[in-house]
């Protein structure tokens, strides 16, 4: 059995059929996972200034760029093993650089509060064995973490939930859109307007406190009644909720306080985003947006978004991420004016404008290691096939050596 690096569920029941050193077939994996394991058709090659080069020269050039930089940033790492992430943090320390990852514009806000123990949380095995009320809030697991409902939450039989979804579990969706997950939550889909989550939470807090909510009282009171009866409830917080309440995130802490039988779990996309958050938290006490100087300093201005907006970085190393694809276009203007070093297994939009590209192995397919699942459990990654590519961990070590 192999572990899938497709998303932060890290499904460890994947069978892979390998023939002549190539992946022929995957079994049990979802569409997303199978695609990740089978790999991309455009593998990255080493380049300098978009001209063909070799790994050693590319590493040397990258080291030169980082050495000459007065204000470098290291970014990405959500598709890297924990071992590579630790090396990335060491490199940032050595350079006195900023370091940030995709959680900075994803679930970082939530994971930080979970690591600070502001929320009760649990493992996915607890969900499978005990959970009776499941709330998917701003989260379409069916499209983002496609085996979440079938492996852990709604459909399986668990120790205390032998009758599964037919009798023992209720799934609820709160979303702007009737997502594929909401379609499964038949009769328990609560549609809200964009940015309507805060109003919904306040109404729910009122209902849970015995007051008549000002907003859609009938529906909110009905939902509050279901939540109050839960023996072991879980709110799966999706990016939709996190984005919507980002200005007042503590409101979710207030709601969780009103629901003592509920756990909070972040729905994480990239397979090891939580790993990066935990590794940086262990080193610095912060999950992202850090600058190393004499000490580690955390500030919003060290987020990739603000650093690009304020043009405060003069070189960017990207590992396993594609900011050109995932950031707003206006932010990318500054990216075009600074040297970018791109470490990735595949050609990306970012690699196409990078000053230096360095190909690496696909972690969890061509190299093993460790990753952290969305619930915080450490999971081993498998090396499924041999490859000549260096791992991102090895590349970061070599880069440190070249400095």
């Amino acid at each position: 059995m192999s572990t899938c690096p497709g998303c932060a569920l890290l499904c460890d029941d994947i069978e892979v059929v390998v023939e002549s050193g190539r992946i022929k077939e995957t079994r049990n994996a979802c569409r997303r996972g199978a695609a990740r394991i089978k790999g991309c058709i455009n593998r990255l090659a080493p380049t300098i200034d978009q001209k063909p080069s070799d790994i050693e020269s590319a590493i040397k050039k990258a080291a030169g760029i980082l050495k000459d930089s007065k204000s470098p940033m290291l970014f990405g790492f959500s598709n890297s093993t924990c071992e590579a992430q630790v090396k990335g943090i060491q490199l940032a320390k050595k350079l006195g650089a900023m370091i940030d990852d995709t959680s900075s514009f994803c679930q970082g806000l939530l994971i930080e509060k979970i690591l600070q123990k502001k929320f009760r949380t649990c493992t996915l095995e607890d969900v499978r064995n005990k959970a009776d009320v499941l709330v998917y809030w701003g989260s379409d697991a069916q499209d983002s973490q496609p085996r979440h409902l079938s492996r852990f939450s709604y459909f399986p039989r668990g120790e205390s939930r032998q009758r599964g979804y037919e009798e023992d579990r209720i799934a609820i969706a709160i979303d702007v859109r009737e997502s594929n997950t909401a379609k499964i939550c038949k009769g328990h889909f609560y549609r809200i307007q964009p940015k309507g989550d805060r109003e919904f939470i306040l109404a729910l807090i009122d209902a849970l406190s015995g007051k008549v909510p000002a907003y859609e009282p009938k529906k909110i009171l009905e939902l509050a009644a279901i939540l109050k009866k839960a023996e072991f409830g879980v709110i799966f917080v999706g990016i939709g909720l996190t984005y919507s309440i980002k200005e007042d995130f503590d409101i979710l802490v207030s709601l969780a306080d009103k629901l003592p039988n509920f756990q909070i779990m972040p729905m994480v996309g990239h397979y090891n985003m939580r790993g990066f958050n935990e590794n940086l938290f262990k080193e610095t006490g912060f999950v992202n947006r850090v600058r190393f100087h004499d000490t580690a300093v955390h500030d919003d201005k060290y987020s990739i978004i603000e650093a690009l907006r304020e043009k405060s970085i003069d070189a960017l190393l990207v590992a396993g991420s594609d900011p050109l694809s995932s950031l707003t276009r206006s932010l990318i203007r500054h990216l075009a004016s600074i040297p970018v070093i791109c470490i990735d297994p595949c050609v990306t939009m970012t690699s196409k404008i990078a000053a230096v590209t360095i190909p690496c192995a696909v972690s969890g397919v061509e190299s093993g290691g460790t990753a952290v699942r969305m619930d915080g459990k450490k999971i081993g990654l498998s090396k499924i096939i041999e490859s000549d590519y260096l791992t991102d961990e090895e590349l970061l070590v070599r880069l440190m050596g070249a400095l």
């Binding site: 569409r31 702007v176 859109r177 201005k301």
Partner: protein, 143 residues
């Protein structure tokens, strides 16, 4: 011979709210080949309710310009297969939707990726390709 006044008239513009979502088929296409036609086809589109499409005189397969102060793209209209009340359109999270997202975060480092307001209008222009988005970045590099 009469003058075809219609061709000088601009198609009406409507204000629309857009939220983004994830689509497993688009994610699969991205994993395989983010420069491929499948990824482009599954990304360069806007999903709307039947009600909104009727109000705006749009049909499935029409090409629309979606624009705001942050940028402008041309994408294909798709009719939602769900019972949507209307008022909100949906785009898969992608480099296309990101063209429309403001970088104004109030210094907090987290843009409103899922809360976009834009103007939408019927056009005959080609759908914005990933290559044309890349071209924008390449031109920036030359400046």
């Amino acid at each position: 011979m009469g003058i075809d006044v219609g061709k000088f008239l601009k198609n009406p513009e409507y204000e629309i709210k857009i939220t983004t979502f994830r689509d497993i088929f688009q994610v699969e296409a991205q994993e395989r080949d983010r420069f491929g036609k499948d990824y482009e086809k599954l990304s360069a589109c806007i999903v709307m309710s039947k009600n909104d499409m009727e109000k705006m005189g749009l049909k499935p397969g029409d090409r629309v310009k979606v624009a705001n102060n942050n940028g402008s793209i041309v994408v294909e209209v798709r009719e939602s297969k769900r019972d949507e009340p209307g008022g909100v359109a949906f785009m898969v999270n992608s480099p296309w939707s990101n063209v429309l997202v403001s970088d104004d975060t109030g210094g907090k480092g987290l843009p409103d990726f899922k809360n976009i307001t834009a103007k939408i209008s019927l056009v005959k222009e080609e759908i914005t390709s990933l290559e044309s988005l890349m071209e924008y970045f390449r031109k920036l590099k030359q400046v």
